[in-house]
Structure formats: structure tokens, C-alpha cells
């Protein structure tokens, strides 16, 4: 694995660089430690909306050209807002990366937040939310997440609540931007075809003049433990019943996250950690597929265990077989969970999970954007060492730890059960 260069600029901006000379491409990511967990009630969705406004221009790069400059040079760019972080990336022909760096340094401080643009983007974000609401699984996920967190701001969806999207002001957005978009709250990660010394000098020229700000506050209202199962149901159009089970799970940097990863691999199949490149693999030999899908209780089962700053959720999403009831599925699910809690998992099963993880890792390393992604992303919930040590940490997981993870996490008292009940269809053509 190529060497990593890490440094911090005088203003606190953390820089992570990884030279990869396999293709004439550079991928650059700026990460801010701000996400939906930094939003008080009344301003839910503000981090995501601020991310949208970062494409609306600065005096130097007005909106009318901001959307074109990267594309014109053959680059791709986008941004993502998540629970704990917001990130902006450009992947470009290597000789054009200067442009991405200048643009990101500029919009770290100089975005205009023009009131007319704010007004226009308000309806765009509301439209984005309405598109999400068309999906039963969005509606169910939102309800389950809200039931799982009463105190912690992981309570609400990243897109935010309609009430807040309608009422937040330009000044709210701008204040959020100025508070969190400071170099000492950010990580710049680059991977690709560059010489470290030269590019670092240019990064210093562009980013070091940006003044550090006061350390932004992070909301930290820890969620008390659950003291019993929460159940909820939701009704909506369609013919398909969905069942979701969300268990409170360890944070990404918690050593218990690794046994959970192995457990998840055995129960629902290995998950790809890669946001870019190297999609996942099938899960037809996983325990839950065999129990639920092969036995015709469900038509699909999937899971997600994600790396968050604070403890979040380990979630199973099950598409119920059209001839079955959600309660039957739940009962079979619980039997399968009991089996992994009571029996010892063989060393072979764990070895298999390790090999799967190794393959998924290799697929991810084909792609330079994905490598730059991980340089920064790991810093958002742990450090890059987490990523470097990932395979070794998984390999060290014992069957006792897997069993303990199953026993401590997969308790009914530690979960929310959500059911989407379809109310049927009436489709007409005009």
C-alpha cells in the first residue's frame, strides 16, 4: 500500500495525501465535521440545504459558471451530507486538479447565499423530500429512526422535516455555514497522480490564508439505553409489506464494531464499505436469506451497519413475501437470531467472512475516487488507521466476540420494529 502523507496546516486544516500513479487522475475531497446530528429541532435539514447552497456561487465562481467549470475540464463532482459529515469531491484529469483546489478553498469562506437562490433552492429541497416520500422504505426508515432516538439528534432524517424546510431563513443557513465551514473543522483528502511535495505547497498557498474559526460546537446529547421494544406501523399505497428492525449499535470507532461486522456478514451477507466502486456481492448463503427467502417468508433481506461517530443503528430491511404476514417473518427472524446467540460460530465461518471482506476491499482499490474517499471518511468517525487496520481487526475477531455481539446487540429490548402495511392499489390510465 502506498505511503500516506498527513499534515495539519497552521489554521488547523488536516491534509491527507496518497500518491497513486496508475492513471492520470486525481480525486480531491473536502470533509466538514457537520451533518444532520448538528441540527436542533426547528432547523432540521439545514446541513443538507447548506450543501446545496455551496453550489450557488461565490464572487469568484458565480453559480452560472460554478456548475460548468469542473465538467468542462472532464471532471466529475458532487457532494454528500450525512449524519456526521458533509463532503465535496472532484475527480479530474490530473493536470486539472488546481481548479478543484481553488474552487474548494474559495467556497470554504466566500459562498454568497444570495436570498433569491435560497428561495429557489427551498423548493428544490422540498421537491427532493417529496421524491423520497414516494418510497415506502423512506417513510418507514424515517419513522423507525425517529422511534429509536428521542434525545440524540440522530432522531431526524438528513433531508429534514417539511416544517423546517418551509421556515428556515437565509440567515439561519448562512450562520450554519460560517459556524461549521472553518479550516480547523475540515479534512482535505487527495489521492492520485501527483507529487506530494509540490501539491502540498500549492494546498498551503490556497488554504492556509483562510483564518481558523472558533471550534464549532457538536451536539452531544447521549441517547439513554432503550428499555423495551418499540413497535410501530405505517400505512400507505401498494401491495408490498416491508419489515424493518433497527437495533442500537456501537459507534464506528468502538472496538465492538468489528465483531458486529463479522456478525452482519454471517447473518445478512457481507456489506461493501465502498461508497465508490466495487459494489457488493450477493447474500444467498447468509443465514437470514436461507431462513427467510429460501423458506418463502420473504422475497429479499438486507442489512446495514454503518460507521458513525455516536452509537447508531444496525438495521435489517425485509421485503415480506406476498403470501405472508410480517409477524410470521419476525418470528422466524427471532429464531435465527437466537441460534447465533446460543451456538458457537465456527472458525471457518469467520474465515469466510474475512475472505469476503478482503475481496470487497480489493474491488474498492481499483478506483482512485474510492481511495481518496476513505482517506477522509475514516477521519470523520475514527482515524485513517481504522481503515488501514480494518482487515487485521476483522481477522482477529473470535467466535466468542461474535456471540457476545449477537447477545448484546440483538436483544428485543434494544430494537425498534417497524412495519409498512400496504393499503392496496388502484391504478388508472387516462
Amino acid at each position: 500500500m502506498p505511503d500516506i502523507h498527513r499534515t495539519a496546516l497552521a489554521n488547523g486544516l488536516q491534509v491527507m495525501l496518497k500518491e497513486i500513479h496508475t492513471a492520470p487522475i486525481i480525486s480531491s475531497w473536502v470533509w466538514y465535521r457537520v451533518g444532520s446530528r448538528d441540527e436542533p429541532s426547528g432547523r432540521t435539514g439545514i446541513s443538507h440545504w447548506v450543501e446545496h447552497m455551496q453550489f450557488k456561487g461565490t464572487p469568484q465562481f458565480p453559480a452560472s459558471i460554478l456548475d460548468k467549470v469542473i465538467a468542462r475540464e472532464g471532471g466529475i463532482s458532487n457532494a454528500f451530507t450525512y449524519l456526521d459529515w458533509t463532503t465535496y469531491f472532484e475527480t479530474m484529469p490530473g493536470d486539472k486538479i488546481e481548479l478543484a483546489l481553488r474552487l474548494e478553498a474559495d467556497r470554504m469562506v466566500n459562498s454568497t447565499f444570495d436570498p433569491e437562490e435560497v428561495a429557489s433552492e427551498r423548493t428544490v429541497v422540498i421537491s427532493e423530500r417529496e421524491g423520497n416520500e414516494n418510497e415506502p422504505l423512506f417513510l418507514l426508515g424515517e419513522a423507525v429512526q425517529a422511534a429509536a432516538f428521542r434525545v440524540h439528534p440522530y432522531h431526524h432524517e438528513i433531508i429534514g422535516d417539511l416544517a423546517d424546510l418551509k421556515t428556515m431563513s437565509r440567515d439561519d443557513l448562512y450562520a450554519h455555514y460560517r459556524c461549521y465551514y472553518v479550516p480547523d473543522n475540515a479534512v482535505l483528502s487527495l489521492a492520485g497522480d501527483f507529487e506530494t511535495e509540490a501539491i502540498l505547497a500549492r494546498i498551503r498557498e490556497l488554504f492556509e490564508p483562510i483564518p481558523a474559526g472558533p471550534t464549532p460546537p457538536r451536539q452531544a446529547r447521549p441517547e439513554p439505553p432503550m428499555r423495551g421494544e418499540h413497535r410501530l406501523s405505517l400505512e400507505g399505497p401498494g401491495e408490498t409489506t416491508y419489515l424493518q428492525l433497527a437495533y442500537r449499535a456501537p459507534a464506528g470507532s468502538d472496538p465492538n464494531f468489528f465483531p458486529l461486522t463479522v456478525l452482519d456478514s454471517l447473518l445478512a451477507g457481507p456489506s461493501s464499505l465502498n461508497m465508490f466502486g466495487g459494489g457488493g456481492i450477493s447474500n444467498k448463503t447468509s443465514r437470514l436469506y436461507r431462513t427467510l427467502v429460501e423458506k418463502e417468508l420473504a422475497v429479499a433481506v438486507g442489512s446495514s451497519a454503518i460507521t458513525t461517530v455516536d452509537p447508531f443503528l444496525y438495521t435489517f430491511t425485509i421485503t415480506v413475501h406476498p403470501q405472508r404476514k410480517a409477524e410470521e417473518v419476525l418470528s422466524a427472524f427471532d429464531d435465527e437470531v437466537k441460534r447465533i446467540q446460543d451456538e458457537t460460530v465456527s472458525a471457518e465461518e469467520i474465515d469466510r467472512a474475512i475472505k469476503q471482506a478482503r475481496a470487497l476491499f480489493a474491488y474498492g482499490s481499483e478506483n482512485i475516487s474510492n481511495q481518496a474517499f476513505w482517506l477522509g471518511h475514516a477521519e470523520m468517525f475514527a482515524t485513517y488507521d481504522w481503515f488501514l487496520g480494518y482487515l487485521d481487526k476483522l481477522a482477529a475477531v473470535t467466535s466468542a466476540e461474535v456471540r457476545h455481539a449477537a447477545q448484546s446487540i440483538l436483544r428485543p429490548q434494544n430494537r425498534v420494529v417497524g412495519i409498512y402495511i400496504p393499503t392496496g392499489v388502484e391504478v388508472g390510465h387516462e
Partner: protein, 442 residues
């Protein structure tokens, strides 16, 4: 908002930090694509990439939904999806256990002309991947209970499709543009056609249409092409199906004579999807590149081109509003899609139609075209970053007979397109009064 024109070009003088200038050698070409044809009709294209210890295969067989009857539409797709559910040698759990234990994957699906497969593994497991491919292609067992499980999954998928406003708008759009043409039929069928399919139909479809003639495999990754060729040869060179038929000829497409609008009512939804467009060129038509560049200006470049600018940026009506061009063996489609609040359907539709009219009348400016040309040329190496990206490029070369040097010539081909070429292409396909409009929503 200030719009300072002068800053537009202030980034032309750039310092360069990359180690080596981008060279065409990062793109596949005759000197690094290995191409072999076996006597039974299989073509292999391979390119080595030792940057990661992984490998991908992808390819197709001449067994698409064109062979489906209307009554059993979805049979080609059903057959492709059922291949992995059991073979003469192994059952589903055994097949997937071998693959998943290695973190490998292999899957099938059917399109109009071909059934496709794609798989990936660590390079050390390539032979497992190829042997599995050969086994399920040549000796699928179609176990009865697995067929029923799969049927329930397919029917659930169709029930979900019927509730998806974007899917239903796209499906309805195809039905309008390709009326009385096989391209107007969804490859995954309808609930009643999936119900009508018997196990024996799958067995017959496989026996008749699956064979090596016209099969193409692209193999990219950490393996020497010669070794790849030998492994493919061992797995598939003795496959034979003497009765394999030619693809049925495509009937001519009758273009719309007037604008046709169709609505699908899906109660209880929060957003409507609309698709507006027309038919487009085939991939091999000379108009393909001018159309593709025109499409970029219309609804792709930057943040979804002129359509994105009009519908999203200026009016705030939609989160997504873009145009796309689908070009394949036969006539393609050229369509504009948007998701909007149900109250804004007419407003968005009017804005889109206005942009279409402007596009047909005035075409694109030299500056707009050169932006999109630079984008097409510049992003090419990015699309070849991963093994899957290169495999896709190799399949395009073979499927559309583009020539092994196509991606090396691509920049010149793109730069040769003029604004007049784009205008002609726009006028050939788009007519303001002959549009297909599909709307799905509450």
C-alpha cells in the same frame, strides 16, 4: 446575484502537479486489447490491469426478450435470472456458497437483444468464476421449487414497479414512442405474463436460444490475457448449440405523427414523474455522436444542462430534471425526465417543451458545444478507472463494431462535430408537435 463574466476564463494558466501528462496509453487500444474468437462463435476481449488483485468478467448471449411472445413477455429475463438457481451438478446453495465464500459474484439479466452476465472475483478465483459461468450457461436445471420462489420475487418486483412513479412514466413513454414495435415492451413483463410462464417454457427457451454463437466475454483485471484466453477456452470452447437461431429482424419504427400524452394515476404519492421525448439514433448511426453532444448541452452538462438550468436552477421546480439518450442496436430514445410536485406538472412540462423548441430552432452555440466536447474527452479516462468500466468499453467495441482503436480515436471524433451537425441531429429526431409525454403520479 453578480455574474462576473470576466472570471470565466481566469483559470486557463495552470500550474501542473501531476507526475506525467495524460496520455492515450491509459485508454484501451489495439496494442493492449487481446481479442480472440473461438470456432464455436465466442469472442473474448481481454485487457490486463495489475493495479488491484481483482478481475471482472462481463458479456452477453444472443437470448434477449425479442424472442418473447406477448403472452409470455418476461420469459427471457425469467430464464436468465433462473440460470444460477441450480445446475445439473449443484443446487443454488452450493453454487452460491462457492462464490460467496470467496467474495465473488456472478449475475444474469436479460435485455431486448441479449442476456447479459457480469461477475467479479479476486484474480486467484477467476477459474471458479469462469467454471460457474460455463456450468450454469450450459447445464441449468431450473428446479421447480426455485422457479416458484423466483416467480414470487419477480411479481413483487412488478408490484413495486407499479408504485414507482419514475418507472411507470418511463415504461409508458416507451409504449408511446415504440407503439407496435418490440422496443415498446418491458423486458421484465407484466404480472399476468409472468404468471403464464411454466417451468417447461424456461427449459425450452434455454435449449433453443442459449448457445455460443454471438456470445461475447470481456475479461479485465489482474490476469495475463493469454492465461485468460486459455481459461475461457477450457470452460466454453466445446459448447455447442447447432439449432441456435438468428435474431429476429426488427420491424421499422413508425414515428409519432402528433404529440401523444398519457397519464398513469398512482394515488397516495407525493411527487409526479414526467418523461418527454422522442425516438433517437441507433448507436451505429452517423448522427450518434452529434446527438450525444447535443443531449449533453440539452440536459446533462454541468448540473443537468439547459433543462436543469430552466427547471431546477431558475424555477426551483425539481430536484432532478435532465435528458438522456439511449442508443443501442436499433432505434434509441431521447428523453427528458423530471420529478416534480403534482401541482407543477404543467409548469415543468411547458418549460421543458420551451427548451426543446429552442433546441430545435437554434441548436447549440459554439461555446456550449466546445464545453461538452471538452467534457466528453476529459472524462474518458475517468470512466476507465475501474475494471468494470474497461469491460463495458470492450463490450461496446464489440457490440457496435467500433474498432479496437475506437477509444484512442474518440477525442478526434468528438472534436470533429460541429454546431451544424448537432442542429441537424436535433431536427431529425425532435419535433415540437410530435412528442411523447408520459406522466405518472397521484
Amino acid at each position: 446575484m453578480s455574474k462576473t463574466k470576466s472570471v470565466k476564463h481566469n483559470y486557463v494558466s495552470l500550474t501542473t502537479y501531476h507526475a506525467a501528462p495524460p496520455s492515450s496509453s491509459s485508454l484501451p487500444g489495439p496494442d493492449d486489447i487481446y481479442r480472440a474468437q473461438f470456432p464455436n462463435g465466442i469472442t473474448l476481449l481481454s485487457r490486463a490491469n495489475f493495479n488491484s488483485p481483482s478481475v471482472v468478467i462481463s458479456g452477453y448471449i444472443q437470448a434477449g426478450s425479442l424472442f418473447d411472445t406477448d403472452e409470455k413477455l418476461g420469459l427471457a429475463d425469467f430464464t436468465a435470472l433462473a440460470l444460477m438457481r441450480g445446475s445439473a451438478q449443484r443446487d443454488l446453495q452450493q453454487i452460491y456458497d462457492a462464490l460467496e465464500s470467496c467474495g465473488a459474484s456472478l449475475s444474469f439479466s436479460a435485455g431486448l437483444h441479449t442476456a447479459s452476465f457480469s461477475g467479479r472475483s479476486l484474480a486467484e478465483d477467476l477459474s471458479l468464476l469462469l467454471n460457474t459461468l460455463a456450468e450454469v450457461l450450459r447445464q441449468p436445471a431450473f428446479p421447480a421449487e426455485q422457479i416458484e420462489k423466483l416467480r414470487a420475487q419477480l411479481l413483487t418486483g412488478l408490484a413495486i414497479r407499479a408504485q414507482n412513479t419514475a418507472d411507470m412514466a418511463a415504461l409508458t413513454f416507451d409504449q408511446i414512442v415504440f407503439a407496435n414495435h418490440p422496443y415498446g415492451r418491458p423486458e421484465d413483463g407484466y404480472p399476468e405474463t409472468i404468471q403464464a410462464i411454466r417451468r417447461q417454457d424456461l427449459v425450452n427457451f434455454h435449449r433453443r436460444f442459449y448457445g455460443p454463437r454471438g456470445m461475447v466475454i470481456a475479461l479485465v483485471g489482474a490476469v495475463e490475457p493469454q492465461a485468460a484466453m486459455e481459461q475461457v477456452q477450457r470452460a466454453l470452447a466445446d459448447w455447442d448449440n447447432p439449432d441456435q437461431p438468428d435474431s429476429p429482424p426488427l420491424p421499422p419504427l413508425t414515428p409519432l405523427q402528433e404529440t401523444v400524452t398519457r397519464r398513469v394515476n398512482i394515488p397516495g404519492k407525493f411527487q409526479s414523474d414526467l418523461v418527454i421525448g422522442t425516438f433517437g439514433p441507433a448507436r451505429r448511426d452517423p448522427e450518434y455522436l452529434p446527438t450525444s453532444l447535443g443531449n449533453s448541452v440539452l440536459g446533462q452538462f454541468g448540473w443537468m444542462g439547459r433543462i436543469g438550468d430552466a427547471v431546477r436552477e431558475k424555477s426551483g421546480l425539481a430536484y432532478y430534471a435532465y435528458s438522456s439518450l439511449n442508443a443501442g442496436i436499433g432505434p434509441g430514445s431521447w428523453e427528458i425526465s423530471a420529478g416534480v410536485n403534482p401541482d407543477n406538472v404543467t409548469k415543468a412540462s411547458d418549460l421543458i417543451r420551451r427548451e426543446v423548441s429552442r433546441f430545435i430552432e437554434k441548436g447549440v452555440s459554439a461555446e456550449e458545444l466546445s464545453d461538452s466536447q471538452a467534457n466528453f474527452v476529459g472524462r474518458l479516462p475517468l470512466s476507465m478507472e475501474s475494471n468494470a468500466g474497461v469491460a463495458g468499453a470492450l463490450l461496446n467495441i464489440e457490440r457496435f463494431d467500433l474498432g479496437l482503436d475506437y477509444y484512442r480515436r474518440f477525442a478526434d471524433l468528438v472534436r470533429a462535430v460541429t454546431p451544424e451537425d448537432v442542429l441537424q441531429a436535433a431536427r431529425k429526431y425532435f419535433h415540437s408537435e410530435r412528442l411523447a409525454i408520459a406522466i405518472a403520479g397521484p
